[in-house]
Each structure stands twice: as structure tokens, then as C-alpha cells.
């Protein structure tokens, strides 16, 4: 029963992503990425990561993508729609992507596709995914957690400094 939903969500993610990188209107591209993130949240629920699914919808779609949309609307996108959209390096880009795909395939293909034993997921069942995740995040990973808070502070200060008006000039 899980597998058809996995294929449904995967097809949704891949199709919206492919449309996302080919649109010339950036607002359409951002909204397609939001749709892709909703499909991804469904996939996370299937994988037993309920908290991450909620974070994906609330923080990613609701926070980060809205930041993108506001910034797009602050900038003049009409000029950007009219210019030539694609690099002239498209041949090399496709070549590099194919090489990258071949590398991933050659490293992972042999080990991944023989039918591996699938471990049943147990952590999401009794204590609840959020509770289990919280207890790991605040005990074992407390140092990376604090480092991330400093990173967020640095990014916030950097963004304000970069985007503020020049006072002297």
C-alpha cells in the first residue's frame, strides 16, 4: 500500500522540479517548487518522519519560499523574463550532469539495487516521532544544534548588512 503512494509522490516531485528549472517566469518557478515541497512532505510522512513533514510545510513552504516570493516581488522581474534564459554552455552542462549521474550510478547502483533487507521502522510507533526526535536532538546533537543557532545569527546579520541602504554614498 505504501509503494503506490511513493511512486505518486515521486512522480509529482520530479515533474514539478523539471517544470521548475525550465520556466522563464520566476514566480511560476517558485510556486512550482512550493508544490514540489508539498509532495516531498507527503513522502516524509510515508517514511515515518512526521515532524520533518510538518517542518517541510511550515518552515520551507511557509517561511523560506515566502521569503523568495517577497524578494522576487521587490525586484524588477519584468526585465528578467525578456532576456535570453539559457546559458550558451548548455552542451557542457548536460555533459557534466550526465557524468555526475553516471558517477552516482556507478557508486550506488551495485550496492543498492540487489534486493536489500528492509528494516521495519519502529521508532515512529510508540513514543511518537516528535518526542523521539526531540530527545535525540537535545542530548546527542546538542552541540551541532548550538552551532546552527550561531550560523543562523551570522546569516541574519549578514543578510541585514548586505540588503540595507548605503548611508554614506
Amino acid at each position: 500500500m505504501e509503494l503506490p503512494f511513493f511512486y505518486l509522490f515521486s512522480a509529482g516531485i520530479v515533474i514539478t522540479s523539471l517544470f521548475m528549472i525550465t520556466r522563464s517566469n520566476v514566480i511560476h518557478a517558485a510556486l512550482l517548487l512550493v508544490l514540489s515541497f508539498f509532495f516531498l512532505a507527503g513522502l516524509f510522512v510515508l517514511a515515518g518522519a512526521e515532524f520533518l513533514a510538518a517542518v517541510q510545510v511550515l518552515i520551507y513552504s511557509g517561511g523560506i519560499m515566502v521569503l523568495y516570493l517577497f524578494s522576487i516581488m521587490l525586484m524588477n522581474v519584468q526585465v528578467a523574463v525578456r532576456i535570453r534564459q539559457w546559458h550558451r554552455q548548455r552542451f557542457f552542462a548536460i555533459l557534466i550532469v550526465l557524468i555526475l549521474g553516471f558517477e552516482i550510478w556507478s557508486v550506488l547502483g551495485k550496492g543498492v539495487f540487489p534486493a536489500m533487507k528492509v528494516w521495519p521502522w519502529k521508532l515512529g510507533a510508540t513514543p511518537g516521532n516528535v518526542e523521539a526526535l526531540g530527545s535525540v536532538l537535545y542530548t546527542k546533537f546538542v552541540f551541532p544544534f548550538e552551532v546552527v543557532s550561531i550560523l543562523l545569527l551570522a546569516a541574519m546579520i549578514g543578510a541585514i548588512v548586505l540588503a540595507k541602504k548605503r548611508i554614506d554614498s
Binding site: 505504501e2 517514511a47 517542518v55 525586484m75 524588477n76 543562523l152 548586505l162
Partner: protein
């Protein structure tokens, strides 16, 4: 049950789509959106492994990846807005201030 190969394949395909977007498009915002897509491909892989080994560390790292993506979005968009203030630059080929 979904085998882990499906998660890894989906992650690889999403990463390749994002890489193609970064390499082929000229619009700076689309490039940033493609980078978000690549970060999400990594999240798919992390959650697939987390499910396979019934270990929550993968999900914790996915949360950290989301935090880093938020930082990247904030700083990237701030750079774009500051580029956009003086003259309308939406094309990464025209951004050559650091070119030697």
C-alpha cells in the same frame, strides 16, 4: 515496505535536476531555487537512510540541512537585492565585481 533503493534513486534524480538547473539557467533566482532543490535531494537521502537503519540521526541532520537552507536563502536573496538596487541585474553573467 519501500526499499531504500527507491529513496536513493529519487534523491539522485532530484540532485541531478537541481545541478542541471544551476549549470544551465542564467536567472539568479532560478539558480537559488535549484540549490534549494539539491538540498532537498540530500534530505530525501538522509531520511531514506534514517528509515532503513531505524536511527533518528538522519532526521536530525535533515533539520540541520533545512536550517542551512534558510541561511543560504537569506544571504543569497540579500546579495540579489543589493545587486538589484543600483541597476537591474537578474543575470548571473553580468555579476562580475569579483572578476579579476
Amino acid at each position: 515496505m519501500i526499499p531504500i533503493s527507491h529513496f536513493l534513486t529519487l534523491g539522485a534524480v532530484l540532485f541531478l535536476i537541481g545541478a542541471a538547473g544551476v549549470l544551465m539557467r542564467r536567472n539568479a533566482i532560478i539558480i537559488l531555487l535549484s540549490i534549494e532543490l539539491m538540498l532537498n535531494a540530500v534530505n530525501v537521502t538522509l531520511i531514506g537512510f534514517s528509515r532503513q537503519w531505524a536511527d533518528l540521526s538522519g532526521q536530525v541532520f535533515a533539520i540541520f540541512v533545512i536550517a542551512v537552507a534558510a541561511c543560504e536563502a537569506a544571504v543569497g536573496l540579500a546579495i540579489l537585492i543589493s545587486l538589484n538596487r543600483d541597476k537591474t541585474i537578474m543575470n548571473v553573467d553580468e555579476v562580475n565585481l569579483l572578476k579579476w
